[in-house]
Subunit: 465 residues, 2 copies
């Protein structure tokens, strides 16, 4: 039997029960006890530790409640079957639990999340309520593999009116996340197609092409987007771009370059452009430029969108608009894939769109994000005079070019020392750039609130001085 | 301008308004009107049709409400922009609408759905309510790419206690549907791996392997499952099977064959068995056989499960248990894929499992499906004496071998003539079988209720006499 090796501290800020509970829990997680081992009786342990039986009982009961111990009638306390609780190697588990408890960063300039305070929870709840209460047999059946027709129709209306996308509901496929859409596209397009990605660009694309075992090339960017010369020289068939707000540089592709790219696509059978319009809902300056897809008269553009930025990434709803020819091929070869989005959620989102809530939510969020962006820009301008801001006329992140003699790594590390997380642009390069770059950092501003932004920038100032 | 060519029938069961509305809607869907075309004024149309202005106005208003027409002030009614409504070619759309309106079958012996009457809608709603009302910032963030840890932990407990699967939560990946899990596995396993599937088997697997451009072979079955000789001869590396209730034959693989397969897997590096345990929750006769994964001591089995049969296919929640070595590889190369299941749904399902609702639901459904199965078996035995039932000791479907001189196609067609949908086994063969088979049909019994089953079998009797 395991000997309990603990000295209770009466002068600790923790109660004796808490100390004993914490100690036993850690030992249980470490795997010190054998499976189903009996623990010392309350009386004996109380004697050993020189505490009251009540202290032991309270600690044991807490562990029973949490599933670490089991009681057997008239017999005592036993180690529970912990295989489901001990999800990781004990050391790893401990690290994970600690990491979850105290995130190392006070402020994270994440480019992935959305504002946490304005999500219409109660509306979402009430729509869910209505949808689930219909006792709808449809909610129990496999539905349209491309996604609920009504939702595809609502998305069509949105895309037509807000993004100038030319499509009908039949061209839309609903899925969960860009990665899943890309997997479908890889299966849909030619097996030998060579894909081209922006460098720097969305960091998952090269991982995705690698793991799907297709060929890809990284293309350098100039001020307007992917370099045309490099594109022609690359032998690429399918070009993946983010023209509305290039990720990560934040540049907006001008119409001239868009037309050049469409021209490139039109010159050869099998060439396509994947337009990832990931955060086009938010634009703060200049006239809105409609989607590239809307300029395309030849069915060469595949448009990808998502509700990750406009609602929440945790909803996992994305979609793509296929040219008719590709949709025909999709229906012939790939319609055995069921739409991965649960039907309840598709119906809730459909109601949210149809009843005008989405438009209202977008307007509110546009206003809020504009405020956040302006506050962030003004804090940076007043506190960090050696910094130049770029890529801030759209979307939920901007870039800093920092001219204070520090390199990207040092800037990142110093910010981390002050518990501020920022993202050096290097991580978004699938190929290291040819020329040396100035230190550039990506700052997302959606998740921080208006009170946090000045505090976070103040910390950056301290960190970088 | 389009001439309205309609004769209103005063002796029709439909009102004049309904007749006019229906007629105009069909013409609009057919695309007879040009975009933005102006419709005749109410007065003129009323004169032409010899009806009251009110009749025309009511029909027009209905079409405005449904988005087919638009009004312009002081000008009249115009054809709306129908690109979002006209989701298909007019003819196709009409077919689709009609197919949805009046399904050609009165009774469908589907093997895909679940019972429609016993789903715990109100419980699901109240759990959703609780989850969404927490205003949980986590609901707005991207979470663990493998799925919510708490849910993986609950699934672990279930698999350990009910299916004898040996695993911890760290080995589990949550996704949406077997096809998505298979796509991940294809990327995880060797690019040159040859996959083997059961013949007959789940009809999507060969489509999936084809579209993912990997090599696969079809293996014949004997009474125990895939033929061992054929397996060795095939050169396969990865074998996909349904040992608990072979799909579609319904056979349960005995332990001897299981051990032979594990032996095969152990003989070569890179060999794996994919155990698809798609409907093992429901077993009606004999002792439960634990999962193949539970027999495996060498990390050769990848276990796949889902909530499609036990809860609903529309939830789109499935999972797999990876051996440690593969999980390490997964975390290194594939953890950039986010879990496609929305976080709200993961949390609702977690609460459903943790609070014991799932166990209770399963018990209720086991009882109900047992009743349905017994009723179906007894109806068949009394009404169809020339039929032999197989594959009925587990799962949600059984097979009929029909000895009345008709072949499979004829049996299917005659049933269809009586508006009963059954599934000939031929469609599940990826390779046509070498020997001629007796006529075999698959009947799923989950979606029909206890009143419908005798009626459906009576129709089969009439159809086949």
């Amino acid at each position: 039997m395991y000997k309990i090796n603990l000295q209770l501290q009466s002068d600790s800020p923790k109660t004796l029960t808490e100390q004993l509970y914490q100690y036993l829990k850690e030992e249980l997680i470490k795997g010190t006890f054998t499976r189903h081992e009996k623990l010392p009786s309350k009386r004996r342990l109380a004697e050993n530790l020189q505490c009251s039986i009540n202290t032991v009982q309270a600690a044991y009961n807490q562990l029973v409640d949490e599933g670490y111990l089991q009681t057997r009638e008239k017999s005592g306390y036993y180690v529970a079957d912990l295989s489901g609780i001990l999800v990781l190697e004990p050391e790893e588990y401990k690290k994970k639990v600690e990491a979850e408890k105290s995130p190392p960063y006070r402020y994270t300039f994440s480019h992935q999340g959305v504002d946490h305070e304005q999500f219409p929870f109660s509306l979402w709840r009430s729509l869910s309520n209505q949808i689930i209460s219909t006792q709808d047999a449809e909610l129990l059946s496999v539905s349209d593999p491309k996604g609920l027709l009504a939702l595809r129709s609502s998305i069509t209306h949105y895309l037509q009116s807000s993004r100038g996308v030319r499509c009908n509901a039949n061209q839309i496929i609903i899925s969960s996340g860009t990665e899943f859409l890309m997997q479908l596209l890889i299966q849909l397009l030619d097996a030998k197609a060579v894909y081209a990605i922006e460098n720097p660009g969305y960091e998952k694309l090269n991982q995705l092409f690698k793991s799907n075992r297709v060929q890809y090339v990284s293309l350098p960017l100039d001020d307007q987007g992917v370099e045309i010369k490099a594109l022609y020289a690359s032998g690429a068939d399918v070009l993946s771009i983010t023209p509305s707000h290039q990720f990560p540089t934040g540049r907006i592709m001008p119409v001239t370059r868009r037309l050049q790219l469409l021209q490139w696509a039109s010159e050869k059978f099998g060439r396509y452009i994947l337009e990832d319009d990931y955060d086009s809902e938010f634009r703060y300056a200049g006239k809105p430029i409609p989607s590239l897809q809307g300029l395309d008269g030849q069915g060469k553009v595949i448009y990808l969108g998502a509700f990750s930025k406009s609602l929440s990434p945790a909803l996992r709803i994305s979609y793509m608009v296929l040219p008719d020819v590709l949709m025909e091929r999709y229906e012939t070869y790939l319609s055995f894939y069921y739409c991965p989005v649960p039907l309840i959620e598709q119906k809730v989102l459909h109601a949210f769109l149809e009843k005008g809530h989405f438009e209202r939510h977008l307007n509110r969020m546009r206003h809020l994000y504009r405020q956040k962006r302006e506050l962030l820009v003004s804090c940076i301008n007043s506190l960090l005079p050696y910094v130049e801001i770029t890529g801030d006329s759209a979307g939920l992140h901007l870039l800093l070019n920092v001219h204070n003699g520090m390199d990207e790594k040092e800037l990142e590390q110093r910010a981390a020392d002050y518990q501020v997380k920022i993202y050096g642009i290097t991580r978004y390069y699938s190929q290291p750039p040819e020329e040396p770059r100035e230190a550039t950092l990506l700052l997302g501003f959606a998740t921080l609130n208006l009170e946090e932004i000045p505090k976070a920038v103040t910390l950056l100032k301290e960190a970088w001085t």
